[in-house]
Amino acid sequence: MMNIYVLLKRTFDTEEKISITNGKIENDGAEFIINPYDEYAVEEAIKLRDVHGGEVTVVTIGEEDSEKQLRTALAMGADKAVLINTEEDLEEGDQFTTVKILEAFFDGKEVDLILGGNVAIDEASGQVGPRLAERLSMPCVTTITNIEINGSDVQIERDVEGDVEKVETSLPLIVTCQQGLNEPRYPSLPGIMKAKKKPLEELEIDDLDLEAEDVEPKTRTTEIFLPPEKQAGKVLEGETGEQVKELVSLLKSEAKVL
């Protein structure tokens, strides 16, 4: 029987264009999803539970709106969900904030395995998993593409810049998931119906004996801006042979990359 936890973040859909209003990323009208890498974590957690028994709890830190992504994870097959709602208590936060809250959340809990995405596609710091491991004194393996558990022994394959590293470690453990680990399932209709009745606990930082100053971020964002628009380039003309000749000459003389 395993106590499995998944760290999940609600992010913009990958299809979304980004715009800025009053110095902030415009949220209005955007579609939100479970961070794609966290989706691998949910899928793997469910599979491991199905093999080894136990329970999968998905945890997110966010606002009321994150309930939707938690319900999706429950519909995929997770057993319980926890929303740590910071809407009223925190104006801003960074990875230090997130991990401070998670550290308090996990305090005193029996944990065998914590899974998360290796990075969130919005802020993309990739810090939360390894930072949390340090606070909980657990080993941590990042960017995993395969995991097998045998008792407390764990065999992992991880992606290291395209190479595969085979790692041996043991529970309790934190892992962060990389693409290629699995193919996340779509929630089934019965799954969606069942998810409505599954427990979704809502906590505030006060419930974790934390105050706003305990989790005050260490970093500050001073500006958000869009990259300069790329000008449409030159589409070459003529026979293929001529186009290729022109391209090579442009790469050499104009772009100076050859």
Partner: protein, 326 residues
């Protein structure tokens, strides 16, 4: 205010990775005239690589050699680096945003209870503050970020911050530090090399990428040949990976790698927004696609409308010609 800044160097197959030199350049901006101290962990003789860090702008270098540091583990490197940090009490730490950088820096920052700015593409000293620029939403936007107080800790994205030129007249001490490395909880049993040439996508100067238009695993062959003669490496769109033409480790995009090479040649890639997020900040983009309406042409500096299996071999021949004549 000038401060001491530590640069965590990184090696790959016995040589220093270029991003190490870029990190030294970033550290020199952060230190504001203070000392830049390199650190190198590994096994055996590290002195020459330490000197190489000095030639690229480090004031001195500390090496930690230990048989338990032969391959990277977060526990092993964590203990070695923590010992150096305890000795030196730096005001700043910089490392490349590489596989190892991404793994070790959050753990160090967590132990130090400090902030960490990951994946910076620019470092500037502005009005007494160090301001980092970093991509968010996979490069669809950028943010400027600073550390409020404490150690200025950051990782930098390869290929973005120019390294200082090598100058072997520079002198600086390379000292060895002994650290006992114990209790490694993750054991590396094996490393299976899949990247053929050892050039990581994020550090490659030239990338030739294929999409669904490549049509099969064999279809990547001309792309590999083109990458070879340009000294680059091959990447792919999600479409090509999903279709099983190549390994996911080659994927460039919002999920997958984000790259900024000098030259990006997109072959048979339509240019979905997710793919553009991973490559649109490349310095020069060439698109080769049959479909003149393909979105990729909107970000390309140069476009050829045509069949990649016709264009790429001709391109290879032409580049060979130019190289012979050069």
């Amino acid at each position: 205010m000038s401060k001491k800044v530590l640069v965590i160097g990184e090696t790959r197959e016995g040589t220093l990775r270029n991003v190490t030199f870029e990190a030294i350049a970033a550290a020199n901006i952060i230190s504001d005239g203070g000392e830049v101290v390199g650190v190198l962990c590994g096994e055996g003789q590290l002195e020459n690589m330490g000197k190489e860090m000095v030639y690229h702008g480090a004031d001195r270098v500390i090496t930690v050699a230990n048989e338990n540091l032969k391959t990277y583990t977060s526990d092993g490197f964590g203990q070695a680096l923590q010992a150096v940090i305890d000795d030196e009490s730096p005001g700043g730490i910089v490392m490349g945003h590489t596989s190892i950088g991404k793994d070790i820096t959050p753990k160090l920052a967590s132990r130090l209870e400090s902030g960490l700015i990951s994946d910076a593409t620019e470092v500037l000293a502005e009005g007494g503050k160090i301001v980092f620029t970093r991509p968010i939403y996979s490069g669809k936007a950028f943010e400027k970020k600073e550390i409020k107080d404490g150690i200025i800790f950051a990782t930098i994205r390869p290929n973005n911050i120019p390294a200082e030129p090598r100058d072997d007249s520079r002198v600086g001490e390379v000292t060895e530090k002994n650290v006992e490395i114990t209790n490694i909880r993750t054991i590396i049993k094996d490393i299976i090399r899949k990247s053929s040439d050892g050039v990581d996508l994020s550090e490659a100067k030239v990338i030739v990428a294929g999409g669904r238009g490549v049509k099969s695993a064999e279809g990547f062959q001309p792309l590999e040949e083109l990458a070879d003669i340009l000294g680059g490496t091959v990447g792919a769109s999600r479409g090509a990976c999903d279709a099983g033409y190549c390994d996911y480790s080659l994927q460039i995009g919002q999920t997958g790698k984000v790259v900024t090479p000098d030259l990006y040649i997109a072959c048979g890639i339509s240019g979905a927004i997710q793919h553009l997020a991973g490559m649109s900040n490349s310095k020069v983009i060439v698109a080769i696609n049959k479909d003149p309406e393909a979105n990729i042409f909107n970000v390309a500096d140069y476009g050829i409308v045509g069949d990649l299996f016709d264009v790429v071999p001709k391109l290879i021949e032409e580049i060979k010609q130019v190289k012979v004549n050069a």
